[in-house]
């Protein structure tokens, strides 16, 4: 009994620890510009909602949210389509080049994308992909392609080959059998891959700094960092309000998809 209560208390404490900075951010975003932190109860805000309007107008967070959303969606689409196709043929057919591709992907998983940034920059200039959302999306997709192929392949291997063979007997090609039969069954692992990587793409900063220099193409972290540097610690209430605006879509997306994460991970993703 005591251990049960102790466990609940520990969980409660951890949750509080995780939520505190969010609470402080929210408090801060509702303070009046004239508020001096040391006056009055520090934990209760002024409920000055006007900060949100000011923050929205003065920062470029609206454009940035749209840019981040387009980059993330396009990158995830590329990963899912190309990644599952590659995983299918790698898991099902023993061609030499399939083995070679898989081995190259496996080794590349150990190399973080940031190492490649500078030579990638010259390539991006040559193919006119600097300051384009599609260019950034392809960079982000490439970053996580190896680990995604790895997860998808493990998942396809866990499915019996017979499911496709019955379709082949009915006159389906192997290619069509993938789209009709295998692909729909991959849903849990697609959800896991999308959640594990989607937020990283949404929040990418280290590479966005190089490839999205035009202010109209800035993604969320960039828009916030420029804004933070501009005011250099002076207007915390506006920055906090803007940060809250930026965080809301992420939290909503997460709440929507969080159930699939653990399910997708348990069903094959970590068995690797």
């Amino acid at each position: 009994m005591i251990s049960k209560i102790g466990r609940q208390a520990a969980i409660l404490f951890i949750c509080a620890l995780c939520l505190t900075p969010f609470y402080i951010l929210l408090t801060l975003s509702l303070n009046k510009p004239t508020r001096i932190l040391s006056e009055g109860n520090i934990f209760i805000p002024d409920f000055h909602f006007h900060n949100y309007i000011d923050g929205w107008v003065k920062s470029q967070i609206g454009t940035a949210i749209l840019n981040s959303a387009l980059i993330t969606l396009f990158a995830l689409a590329v990963i899912v389509v190309l990644g599952t196709m590659a995983a299918y043929t790698i898991a099902r057919f023993d061609y030499k080049f399939n083995k070679a591709f898989f081995w190259i992907f496996l080794c590349s998983m150990m190399i973080p994308g940031i190492i490649n940034t500078v030579p990638l920059y010259t390539l991006m200039i040559r193919i006119n992909a600097i300051n384009t959302l599609w260019g950034m999306a392809l960079v982000c997709a490439t970053n996580v392609l190896p680990s995604s192929v790895f997860i998808f392949t493990g998942f396809v291997r866990s499915l019996p080959r017979e499911i496709e063979e019955s379709a082949i007997i009915d006159g389906c090609s192997w290619f069509a059998a993938f789209w009709r039969i295998t692909f729909p069954l991959l849903k849990p692992s697609i959800a896991a891959v999308a959640i594990l990587n989607g937020f990283g793409i949404w929040n990418n900063y280290a590479q966005a700094v190089f490839f999205l220099q035009d202010r109209s193409k800035h993604n969320i972290p960039q828009a916030l960092s420029v804004y933070f540097q501009q005011f250099a610690g002076a207007k915390w209430h506006l920055m906090a309000a803007t940060a809250v605006i930026a965080v809301i879509p992420v939290i909503c997306a997460f709440l929507l998809f969080q159930k699939s994460l653990l399910k997708g991970l348990t069903e094959g993703a970590v068995k690797g």
Partner: protein, 287 residues
């Protein structure tokens, strides 16, 4: 495997590989070439051999960055795994509000580390920060003190913030691993008289090896290429004290030392490769 006629399915891995070759393998090969030149990003480069690598190891700022990056990893990767595993053990099984608790613990991991860095900076900055102000209200007139001038304190804060943010992500992988362990194994171990600690040692731990490998490798890679959180929390300062290799590469590239910055990236590649290969080997043997 039976022989299957060549068809579209034969080439299904090509699109993925072509994308990967164009955006990863090709730049990687170019980077190796670039690292041997004095290219400044504009004028025609000339070949300088290993000069960039020599000057890296003579640069005290660069060596300091290696130290910072390694220290950060040495602190954050093991701690992330311990905390994540602890969380997972705590959260495995039935209790009230299980779903909600998991969502809350994962929440920090979905927020940009840059934003998180700013929030923590606001909370912890000396004098004007939230924590200092609150402490002053409660009668501790010194507040948090000037921790941003102490290298070790700064490193500690960076590591703890990183662990705080990503423990949920590590936890989810461990949770998935824990749920893949068949209950019968625990029951038969119990019948053999194994206590909690020996059940953990001989049942849980060996069967968690795949999750441990994924977590250890991703955490090592993530920590060694740390970028955002340092940018927003300390901006690499004071001076260049808490600058990481990733930030150094970016600043060198913008400082028109393009050839040199690719050389640093190559060095970083080897720094990352060694611990990753070692941990892969170790977990493979145990499996």
């Amino acid at each position: 495997m039976r022989h299957v006629k060549t068809g579209l399915h034969t080439f299904m891995a090509f699109p993925a590989f072509l994308l990967f070759a164009l955006f990863f393998l090709w730049p990687l090969a170019q980077g190796i070439g670039m690292s041997l030149t004095d290219w400044d990003g504009i004028r025609a480069p000339s070949f300088v051999g290993l000069q960039n690598f020599f000057s890296f190891f003579k640069d005290s700022r660069a060596l300091g960055d290696i130290k910072t990056t390694l220290l950060f990893t040495l602190g954050s990767a093991p701690l992330l795994n311990l905390v994540g595993l602890g969380y997972a053990l705590l959260m495995d099984g039935e209790f009230h509000g299980k779903g909600l608790a998991r969502v809350i613990i994962y929440l920090p991991a979905i927020i940009s580390p840059l934003i998180m860095g700013y929030i923590w900076y606001f909370l912890l900055q000396p004098d004007r920060g939230f924590v200092s102000q609150a402490m002053m209200q409660w009668g501790f007139s010194r507040g948090l003190g000037d921790w941003m001038n102490e290298y070790w304190l700064e490193m500690l804060v960076l590591i703890l913030v990183n662990v705080w943010q990503y423990a949920g992500m590590t936890m989810v992988i461990y949770l998935a691993g824990l749920q893949g362990i068949p209950q019968e194994l625990y029951e038969s171990a119990k019948m053999d008289g194994a206590g909690y600690s020996s059940r953990f040692r001989y049942v849980t731990l060996p069967l968690l090896i795949p999750s441990i490998r994924i977590n250890v490798v991703t955490n090592i890679i993530g920590s060694l290429s740390v970028f955002d959180i340092i940018m927003s929390l300390t901006d690499g300062g004071p001076g260049y004290a808490t600058e990481s290799l990733g930030i150094y590469i970016m600043r060198m590239c913008y400082g028109s030392k393009t050839g040199y910055s690719t050389a640093v990236a190559m060095i970083m590649f080897f720094i990352i490769l060694v611990p990753v290969v070692i941990s892969m080997r170790l977990t493979q043997e145990r499996e």
